[in-house]
Amino acid sequence: MSIETPAVTAGPFAHERVSISRTMGLVMLALLPATLFGFWQFGWPAIHLFIATVLAALLAEAMSLRVAGKPVRPYLMDGSALLTGWLLAMSLPPWAPWWIGVVGSFLAIVVAKQVFGGIGQNLFNPAMVARVALLIAFPLEMTSFVAPTPLFSAGAPGLVEGLAITFGGQGFDAFSGATVLGHVRTELGQGEALSTILPGLYAPVSGAIGTVAGSLGETSALLILLGGLFLLYKRIITWHIPLVMLGTIALLATLMHLYDPEHYTGALYHLVSGATLLGAFFIATDLVTSPVSTRGQILFGAGCGLLVYVIRTWTGYPEGVAFAILLMNACTPLIDHYVKPRIYGRDRKGAPIEYADGAGANQ
């Protein structure tokens, strides 16, 4: 037996002015500053890649809906596919070829979302699935970053040159190789000490503002933080996941840094580098793939933070945000099963509350 909507209408007959498309729209609005900064910083190729990725996501969604026999318009208009494409684009190297974005979008939408049953059903964050899959399949393209060449600055590619870079596969010469995270990881691996690696490579200020090599929309810690605060203000997300995740990373980094400052970077380095903030505010908080209860979210955030730090520090990958979040995504059903709010009038085990003083019990 299964019911779609029971026949007898029940209240409430009033509704908050919310909808899924509004939620998605606000998230995109929050992403806008960091995205525009990425456009400015990495120029036309970044813009082309962004457009290609987003359009591919919409196309993939429309095709999947058609195949699944679902109404295309309402689902396409909910904004979720657009957001997935957007987030994916933000996590790509800005000068990556167009097909990276397109393949990524199809992976995200078709494999990570629609195969699971569409919106709300996916276990993993689609953008992160695509990011990780791309990283494994195309390690070269996914780790070739460029130094910032702001739009209209000398040496920045123009519109046409940009097209050639994104769609023609030119411009590999410009690649500087790696992000700060990648660089530090490699040098540490070669036995160098941080005091010799970091100077000249990393400054907290440029990391915070974002004038460094990195993914399209991840470089400006400040603008992402701004977007995150906006989401908190608009109550699209709650503080639990981002704060606990960042707190865990900061705590571990501080402890290890105190233990051995020559081989373990400090908290600020971890917080402003790579995808930490984008992950904490926009990806770990993905509504569909994170726990629904407050305590579950705290657990989830702590798990994400722990894994990010462990992966970055002790594994072969310089960046761990995507892996960490995917691993925790896999734990979400378990967390939601075991961690639930306490029901009113019951103790944590589900038995009715009893009062020691007998309260108003029968005389």
Partner: protein
């Protein structure tokens, strides 16, 4: 006074300004009244009048039956036009036993109507009896017979009477107006109830969006130090009995229990007013204040209307519809019921009639759940609505119950915030209804089984008795044979009538 936090809840747009400024007006007597026999929780009342009979205002039209029931009285003097059935004040629109009364225009009270000079000299039992006889039920919408609640003192150790003036449902202003305009009477009713309950402490909870009501109640209660006012934060569902008590005492009512379990009884201001009328003047409950509001109503108002007034009469008095309403509701928009038509009569529990526009209801087609957790955050009962709904939807009622379905108070906070516009409460209501139906079937099966077992036992018993009687006769026959040889024993003679008795 110190207030405690409750979890969850929402802040709906309260839309009280539509009717809050309108003083209570007495509705001119309608041409016809339709008074249903069941206007309360419990057993329906049984009719006590015949067709064609002339009744005075306040005469009993129907008697309560059983412990949890309430009588129904004539809202005005007039002639009983019929004792039949009429569409109910309920979403189903089914017809229910109803008495139709044609007012004679005199609105004359019966001769036996008489108040008590000093209710505080009465025994608590006597007060409860008078409240019961006046047909007073909980007027906040729950319509539980008020006298039964006053008698809780017999079973529980009570210490506080809480007056629920939260009126947290948007639009509704009838309690607000009552507390503003008839504060003295409300306070008097409260004191009578406190006396009946034997409690020393009274707390009146009023949300901060009703400062005028707070002020007038403070003035009216100033002479009585045992009565305190709690200024409640405006937050839905503050008026949920258990949550209100938690806000005031910091204690949760144990699951499946009553607030009396923690020593508190909750009554509504309108109920207090009705108790005042019943004790001081002997007036049974025959009218109540109803808020007529909503964007589709031309002139929203608070009307004191006789019970049994057709909704149409109320709406007409408010200037009719400004535009075609998208929804017609009895009660508030959060927990109210859709009304099947404007023909249905008002009942004791009618606190509001709302005609809402499409913009107000903001109804949309449901989308899939995006697991956003808004419903979990909003639920004042600590439930996970999205999961309960998922189970209910697939027909897995046991799963939904395990997740706490029976702890859900149906407040609608979850549906209200759901960005997917998923009708969560609708699923819960459906599942609760199914569970109740299953419970009834199970009960019936158990009852059938019990009866069958009883029957088998009876048959066995008869068989056994027959066998014993036969044995005895055989023995007696043998004894007789022997007696023919020996002299008769007197014991055999006395034994016989007992044996016959067993067999019958």
């Amino acid at each position: 006074m110190k207030l405690f936090k409750i979890r969850g809840g929402v802040h709906p747009d309260d839309r009280k300004h539509l009717a809050a400024g309108q003083s209570i007006e007495i509705l001119p007597m309608p041409a016809l009244l339709h008074i249903p026999l069941q206007q309360h929780i419990g057993a329906p009342a049984s009719p006590a009048v015949r067709r064609g009979q002339h009744v005075a205002k306040g005469d009993r039209l129907a008697n309560g039956q059983g412990v949890i029931s309430a009588p129904v009285h004539a809202p005005t003097s007039g002639r009983v036009m019929g004792v039949g059935s009429y569409p109910a004040h309920h979403a189903s629109g089914l017809s229910v036993p109803t008495i139709t009364l044609k007012p004679d225009g005199e609105d004359r009270w019966g001769d036996s109507i008489q108040g008590v000079a000093d209710p505080f000299a009465l025994d608590p039992d006597e007060i409860a009896a008078r409240v019961a006889a006046a047909g007073v039920v909980g007027l906040g919408g729950a319509t539980f017979p008020a006298a039964v609640k006053l008698n809780l003192r017999k079973k529980y150790r009570l210490h506080t009477l809480v007056i629920n003036g939260a009126e947290c449902e948007p639009y509704l202003t009838c309690d607000d107006r009552l507390m503003r305009e008839r504060a003295e009477a409300v306070i008097d009713g409260i004191r009578i109830m406190a006396h009946a309950l034997g409690v020393e402490r009274v707390v009146i909870g009023i949300e901060n969006n009703k400062p005028e009501a707070q002020a007038s109640m403070v003035v009216a209660a100033s002479a009585y130090p045992s009565i305190r006012l709690a200024r409640l934060p405006t937050r839905y569902p503050m008026g949920s009995e258990k949550h209100l008590v938690q806000t005031l005492t910091g204690r949760e009512t144990p699951a499946r229990g009553l607030t009396a379990d923690i020593g508190v009884v909750v009554h509504n201001p309108a109920t207090a007013f009705a108790v005042h009328e019943a004790l001081r003047f002997g007036y049974p409950l025959v009218s109540r204040v109803v808020t007529i509001s909503g964007g589709a109503i031309a002139q929203p108002r608070n009307l004191q209307a006789p019970l049994g007034t057709r909704i149409q009469d109320l709406i007409d008095y408010c200037g009719g519809f400004r535009e075609e309403p998208a929804r017609l509701i009895s009660g508030g928009p959060m927990m109210g019921q859709p009304l099947p038509s404007t023909r249905v009569p008002t009942v004791k529990g009618s606190n509001g009639v709302l005609a809402l526009t499409a913009a107000e209801t903001n109804q949309r087609d449901p989308m899939p759940c995006i697991r956003c957790g808004s419903c979990v955050q909003a639920c004042p009962c600590g439930l996970v609505p999205l999961e309960m709904a998922a189970h209910a939807r697939t027909g897995d009622l046991e799963g939904a119950v395990k997740l706490g379905l029976m702890d859900c108070i149906g407040c609608g906070s979850c549906s209200y915030v759901c960005p997917g516009h998923i009708p969560l409460v609708q699923f819960f209501n459906y599942a609760k209804g199914e569970m109740a139906a299953r419970g009834r079937v199970k009960q019936k099966q158990a009852e059938t089984k019990r009866l069958a077992e009883q029957r088998t036992a009876r048959i066995e018993e008869i068989k056994r008795a027959k066998r014993e009687a036969m044995d005895r006769r055989r023995r007696e026959a043998a004894a007789k044979k022997q007696a023919e040889a020996d002299p008769p024993a007197p014991a055999t003679i006395t034994e016989q009538p007992v044996a016959a008795g067993t067999e019958a």
